[in-house]
């Protein structure tokens, strides 16, 4: 019991540290990649190739003035970044990062908690993150924030259904809700669910971008019309908490996507953790690529797309998968 508790705590600490570093360096990755796509150079001066830029940014944000607007609801204003931040990290509790390994004589599994309803846990926890956006928008006492918060909630409600349904195909085929079992079903590349659920994968990818509020679905923080949307009034560490939360959410979606559709940690030659990292990196790169390529949707286009295209397609995919399995 004690041994289990210690190993689990160590795993949690390691994952959180790795994730925080990963979040910081995703900002660097994003700036560099977008810069190259736009014929620029990107961060360059802090350290070699600008590699220390995320650390410099973090130090700057910590020492900035922590400002709370006069008309803000103080308690909710403080709570909002935390609510936006915590659920993104809770997703990683059920993500299998690696196969079981023996370390210092202990058998350590590559997953914090192998829930038998892991996929549902991902959906449940992921759906809680939107409260950060809503609360931030409501509590700031600013019209731009409020509009951003409203957009965030409407967008999440619209895309959550299709998001959940896009995963259902994999669940039907795999006949399980456990993340580790889904990984073990995809031993070779031909077993990857991306080939058996191509429509499901595209739907998952699209809805995931809307869920994480990334471009081209970043309406809650559309800077051309809403200043900065729901986090207009935030500064200093509170702002960076939102920022880290957003990147953690991206990495979480990458982890879930590679687990469900790309075979998780399975892969030849390289150690499992590295395969997982490569697959997550592919997701992140795709996100950044899309951001640099596509213009932002208009709001009514976003709603129409969600309800009239993605949602019917998701239902169609679920029905087809069910029919094929029964047949």
């Amino acid at each position: 019991m004690l041994e289990y508790a210690i190993i689990s705590s160590l795993k949690i600490i390691v994952i959180i540290v790795v994730l925080l570093t990963g979040c910081a360096y995703s900002t660097y990755l994003e700036r560099k990649v977008v810069a190259f796509m736009q014929q620029r150079i990107g961060p360059l001066y802090a350290g070699p190739y600008g590699l220390l830029q995320p650390i410099a940014d973090a130090i700057k944000l910590i020492f900035k003035e922590d400002f709370v607007p006069d008309r803000a609801e103080r308690f909710a204003f403080t709570l909002a970044p935390i609510i936006g931040f915590v659920p993104a990290f809770m997703v990683f509790a059920v993500v299998p990062f690696s196969s079981d390994v023996t370390m210092f004589g202990y058998e350590v599994s590559g997953i914090i908690s192998d829930l038998n309803i892991g996929v549902l846990w991902v959906l449940a926890v992921g759906s809680l993150g939107v409260y950060g956006t809503i609360l931030a928008g409501w509590s700031s006492g600013s019209k731009y924030s409020l509009l951003g918060g409203l957009r965030g909630s409407a967008q999440t409600i619209s895309y959550e259904l299709a998001y959940g349904l896009s995963i259902v195909g994999v669940i039907i085929l795999g006949n399980t809700l456990s993340m580790s079992e889904i990984v073990s079903q995809q031993a070779t590349i031909w077993d990857w669910y991306i080939f058996r659920q191509p429509l499901g994968f595209v739907l998952f990818l699209t809805c995931a971008i809307a869920e994480t509020c990334r471009a081209p679905f970043d309406l809650p923080e559309a800077e051309s019309e809403l200043v900065a949307g729901f986090h207009t009034e935030y500064s200093s560490m509170r702002f960076s908490t939102f920022f880290v939360g957003e990147y953690a959410h991206m990495i979480a979606v990458g982890c879930v996507g590679s687990t469900l559709f790309l075979g998780g940690w399975q892969g030849p030659f390289l150690p499992p953790v590295l395969w997982m990292a490569i697959k997550v990196f592919l997701f992140l790169f795709l996100y950044i690529w899309l951001r640099a390529t596509l213009p932002r949707f208009r709001y009514d286009q976003l709603m129409n797309f969600g309800w009239k295209v993605l949602f019917p397609l998701a239902i169609l995919n679920t029905m087809l998968t069910g029919l094929i399995v029964l047949w």
């Binding site: 939107v130 409260y131 409203l150 709603m303």
Partner: protein, 192 residues
């Protein structure tokens, strides 16, 4: 007194606290937040009783979807809580308020007298079989023993859905003589 019972007790207290604060708050947004707290605590209670699936579904459906809609509507109407005062409520609802609170309190007293917390929690935890509350078992019971109630619930929800669409449609017709396209634009702007 084992570890699980302690967690069950804590989450049960939090659930009741959240529910109480939900009623006591004047600010509707705060009420919604306390309700979410209560729902999450209830989900923990379910998990402690072995019904992991039900607990997570409670969070997905209620905390993740329905409460977001509640918050959305409250923010859209910009309710700040000062409007609802005692004078505005009609005498009938003033009367029913007291009647129902007395009735519900009596019911609560009877329930508490019938079963003490300690015995219920341990009994339920001991009695459950293997795989209790798993997806398979819930689905099996829902689609065999309780198929008709389940389908009836579905029809009931469908009726509510159609009703909502009809109501929304009628209201839109009454204040507009423009084309359908212009109507669509307006409704989307309201959502924005």
């Amino acid at each position: 007194m084992n570890f699980e019972l302690i967690i069950f007790g804590i989450s049960a207290v939090i659930a009741v606290f959240g529910a109480t604060m939900m009623i006591a708050q004047r600010n509707p947004v705060a009420s919604v937040l306390y309700m979410i707290l209560s729902l999450i605590a209830q989900a923990v209670c379910y998990v402690q009783l072995g019904a992991l699936f039900l607990g997570v579904i409670l969070i997905v459906v209620y905390a993740g979807a329905i409460m977001v809609l509640f918050l959305f509507v409250i923010m859209l109407l910009n309710l700040r809580g000062e409007e609802a005062s005692e004078q505005d409520t009609p005498a009938v609802s003033q009367f029913t308020k007291y009647v129902f609170s007395v009735l519900l309190t009596l019911e609560l007293v009877f329930i508490v007298k019938a079963a003490s917390l300690d015995s219920v929690a341990t009994q339920v935890a001991d009695q459950v079989a293997d795989g209790f509350g798993s997806v398979r078992q819930v689905a099996q019971v829902m689609f065999t023993n309780y198929l008709y109630p389940f389908e009836l619930t579905g029809i009931l929800l469908l009726v509510a859905l159609v009703g909502a669409v009809v109501l929304a449609k009628r209201e839109r017709d009454s204040y507009s003589s423009a084309t359908d396209d212009a109507d669509d634009d307006r409704s989307e702007r309201v959502v924005e």
